[in-house]
């Protein structure tokens, strides 16, 4: 299996497929360049154990280092609060997806739409469909919203996606992004 094949074998997206994030600097640079980034985190960020931590902990640190607001989907807002991170907003995945599609939505803070959306922690098929909805409908002027999938499975409907990775490699990638975000 190539690292840039859809994780679910039958998920064939069509002509427009995500670029593979082969170097994490691509992601960290996009975050740095973005004026209005947003990180959307789902309940599967609570699914795996990485030496006593969970992906949600990595997402909190990534958000802080990249100064990215977080949307917690499903029921997991309380998990952010438990970890001392009280800045997350709560929306469901499809509610936030529908709002991100709308060029007139003014965002969580009323300051306007987002130009970069990162997603992590979703069932593969939910993520692929919401990313597809954004790919086809989330217009920003004459361009479409840039989306990045940070799950450890290649998501073809994103603009950019991490490839299929083991948990260890995923941890290395996210840690590397965080280091790059810290660097000047």
């Amino acid at each position: 299996m190539s690292i840039a094949e859809p994780w679910q074998t039958a998920e064939i997206p069509g002509p427009k497929k995500a670029f593979v994030v082969s170097k994490t600097i691509v992601v960290s640079s996009m975050i740095k360049r973005s004026k209005r980034p947003l990180l959307v985190v789902g309940h599967e960020s609570l699914k795996e154990d990485i030496d006593g931590e969970m992906p949600i902990d990595y997402m909190i640190r990534l958000a802080e280092k990249g100064k990215i607001p977080i949307v917690a989907t499903a029921h997991i807002i309380g998990e952010f609060n438990k970890r001392g991170y009280s800045k997350a907003s709560s929306f469901s995945l499809i509610e936030i997806g529908e709002r991100l599609k709308d060029p007139d939505w003014m965002g969580l803070d009323g300051e306007g739409q987002y130009d970069l959306v990162l997603m992590m922690g979703f069932p593969y098929y939910m993520s692929w469909l919401v990313l597809s909805g954004l790919k086809h409908y989330a217009l920003r002027g004459d361009k479409y919203l840039t989306t990045i999938s940070l799950d450890r499975y290649y998501q073809p409907h994103a603009s950019w996606s991490l490839p299929n990775l083991s948990l260890e490699k995923w941890e290395e990638n996210i840690s590397s992004m965080m280091k790059e975000l810290e660097a000047e």
Binding site: T9, H75, I77, V130, G133, H136
Partner: protein, 782 residues
Amino acid sequence: MTIKNVKLQVDELETGLGTFKGLNVTIGRLIEENLDQPLGPTPFPSITDLRNWDRKLLSRYPPFYLPFCDVCCLCTFGKCDLSQGKRGACGLDMSAQQSRIVLLAACIGAATHTGHARHLVHHLIEKNGGNYPLNVGGDEVDIDAPVTTLVTGQDPKTLGDLDVILDYTEQEVTHLLSCCHTGMEGDNIDFESKVLHAGMIDQVGMEIADLAQISAYNFPRGDPDAPLTDIGWGVCDISKPVILVIGHNVPPATEINDYLLDHKLYGKVEVAGICCTAIDMTRYNPGAKIIGPISWQLRFIRSGIPDVIVVDEQCIRTNLIEDAQKIGAPFIAVSEKNCQGLDDRTNDPADEIVEDLITKKVPGVLILDPEKVGEVASRVAIEISPKRKKKGIFPSIEEIVEGSKRCRSCLACQRACPNNLPIPEAVKMAAEGDLSKFSSLYEDCVGCARCESACPINLPLHSYIMKSSEDRIEKEKFKIRTGRGAIQDIEIRRVGGPIVLGEIPGVVALVGCANYPHGGEEVAEIAEEFAKRNFIVTATGCAAMSMAMVKDEDGLTIYEKYPGNFDAGGVLNIGSCVSNPHIAGAAIKIARIFAKRNLKANYEEIADYIHNRVGAVGIAWGAMSQKAASIASGFWRLGIPVIVGPHGIKYRRMLLGRREREEDWYVYDARTGEKVYVGPVPEHLFYAAETKEEAIVLTAKLVMRANDTSKGRAIKLTHWIDLHRRLYGTLPDDLHLYVRKKSDIPLTMRQELLENLEEKDWKEQEIPDPTLLKRMIRSESD
């Protein structure tokens, strides 16, 4: 619709032939007028008759499309790339194409139920005659067919009357399907309106099917105390021959039952079922056994327990005959819709068919005569059972270990699994002799066997999972209440007021298939959460079965713990898929019995009533099929929201409200004609939830309606806030949108909520007599 029916009644007619007295002439078919109500504005509505109502709903809940892929491949112009604003060769854009696919799914669902109803009605008229009376509840049910009456204006009283209604549903499905042709409809909102029409037609088709079978087969008639019966793998006495029936269309199963009874064989043969035929079989005879929902097919057949397998229609795994052959069980297909490549032996003598099946001259047969199926299946089971000796095809533990050692670690199994189950990890452990991981996959496995198809070395992985869990599965035995059918008028009289005023917090309908993200236990958990909170919990089909397959610490299932009446805290198994309209029917009957609204051909007004007043929510946690899509569509047109499980997002279109868009949440006050803000109630019409916690909290939110009294709203807010706190760990941040007056605030939360509301700059609002229809303003209609 043009109805070419004419009825002439002449008291006395003098002609050249003589004088005729009391002459009645009927041309075409008519249904006698029974209900003393005026005919509403939309009898037998065409595709466009309710378009304005649909557009009201769709402007509040605009579609959010989630395309599977970038292309359309439905015609030979294509494939066409529709990505990012492109149009196909026919001119369609992505939104229209997605809504077209949704319409196709809804048409398939509606056609399936209508076809099912047509077969049933045809069969039952042949057996009993067209004048056979309908009876769904005796004296306890006055409005026999609320959905049909609402849609068509007719009040059917005989099997023959149903025949007329089916002419209409078939016509509409044909028109709707034609709209999916290349170069027809081009606007996505018009496609969506047609989806709602298909859903409404589907409800009529289902209602007809269930009316017919309840009446002719003497199923429970709105019986809250319908008997408890057995469900689970372990319900069969495997020392006896076992006949397994699978599907949805019950006549052949009833004939098996009758043959066994008539020949004094009943009790000597086990008759067990999977999916809705099983539910309906137990409505016919509570002594029949239910194995489980749709996902139990492969695993149960591979166990070798069934001696004969009888398949009718819908949701049947389409290559079951292969597994039937492997266990040496003769296979009998009984529906013209599902012939399985088998020879049609309908007109052959039963003796010959039995002989051919027992001697394995043929692996299976097609028999389109239910009575003959009854005889053949029974005789074959009895004769072949001692020879088969319940030969199954589950591998031995040693074979699992050896097979697992051959694994190439290619991950194809996991990549094929809809739930991304860690099968490679289980294989790795099994290769070392540890089957615990395989066993742990049992609950989450939906039984699709895509892992096996994907495996390059053909490991029977689904069987590995089942064999590893065999000890547990064999003991599975639960209690389920048999499907009760309609809701009685007296029950509606009792609860209509409390529901409309909000004092019974809501009606939760758990429906649909078994494509669960984490097993069926979640359905039971959702159901019990609301039963404990005095909601009315109704269920049908696979959801009704899954709910039964969980016991508490005292060994009781939900049906043993909660009463079966339509009242606060009731848990009702309504019946099979085609029983769903009894749930919609209850909402419709509230409008009639409690509010004295006219039902006949008065769809828009009643849907408006339900949308603004009846706090009902559908949950299809394992929705899988096109039928589930059309069932949901039928609820949407009545303004009833539906939540699906995460896999339901693959229906590729949601209908979402936007709570902060104030302009979307105004209604007319029917008393004054003023437009009044009522808040986002209900907030969404179709919604895929990521987790069961999300679904539970959202359900408690979606039962709120514009008409709630302050007392009712306070009760609903109590449940929503309590659940939000428990499952989300926070207060809802949009709480202020759902409190209209200080008197809405639950007393126990008053101080805290007032502080919260103050932060949000909240102001009190009026509580109107809500309607979305201008014509319902009393001063306008006067």
